[in-house]
């Protein structure tokens, strides 16, 4: 499982193309790719959000993402996987998270990506702080209308 954390904006599609071009990507053997992309929204709970601060736990975040991928793989096998997440200062429109799995079978790719998305939201050590106007506050878990 490839894990990448970026402190600056990244282009998810350029990154996906590079990932699939890599020599270790078993190209034409993998018929199905299921991808999830989460983007920073400019509104939350009806209020404009100017920016986001995304804190993480360097070391533990990467380990937990690897654990998530391994656990999902045990029940829903896939051939290749990619998890990319932004950290630090983020502005609306920036891609926050990119999750992809590649498999020979569409059902496995779709289920694996979906499980990784859910596990990442619930377990991966990331914390969002929203800047709305003059105020900023830490996002609460399960905020209605929370990003992605």
């Amino acid at each position: 499982m490839e894990i990448q954390l970026f402190e600056t904006p990244y282009d998810p599609y350029a990154l996906l193309r590079d990932f699939e071009m890599a020599p270790d990507h078993p190209g034409s053997h993998l018929g199905a790719a299921s991808l999830f992309i989460g983007t920073m929204r400019d509104f939350n709970e009806g209020e404009a959000v100017e920016s986001l601060w995304l804190e993480h736990y360097p070391g533990m975040t990467e380990r937990e993402l690897q654990k998530i991928a391994q656990e999902v793989r045990q029940t829903t096998p896939f051939e290749r996987g990619l998890i990319v997440h932004r950290v630090g200062h983020i502005t609306p429109g920036d891609t926050i998270v990119l999750i992809g799995t590649w498999s020979c079978h569409r059902a496995e790719a779709i289920t694996a990506t979906s499980k990784i998305v859910e596990a990442l939201k619930h377990r991966a050590p990331f914390w969002k702080k929203e800047q709305r106007g003059e105020k900023n506050h830490w996002v609460e878990r399960n905020t209605p209308g929370s990003v992605a």
Partner: protein
Amino acid sequence: MSIHVRYFASLRETMGRMDESLSPDGLLTVSDVWKAVHQGQTLPDHLLCAVNMAYAKPESPVQDGDEVAFFPQVTGG
């Protein structure tokens, strides 16, 4: 040696510090570590904890040299 304690996100701000080091004497569990820096108070339910970068429980054992982290519910993705 010592136990290295780390705080993240809103808890880091509430604590007013990112980390600190404690003498391991008498600290047998994660819960003990929390109590040591909170005048004996119990670890609140809404906080999560980790030992050496893996999720742990309040009753999980700690040893000299461990890194113990406390943080709120995660909100990534």
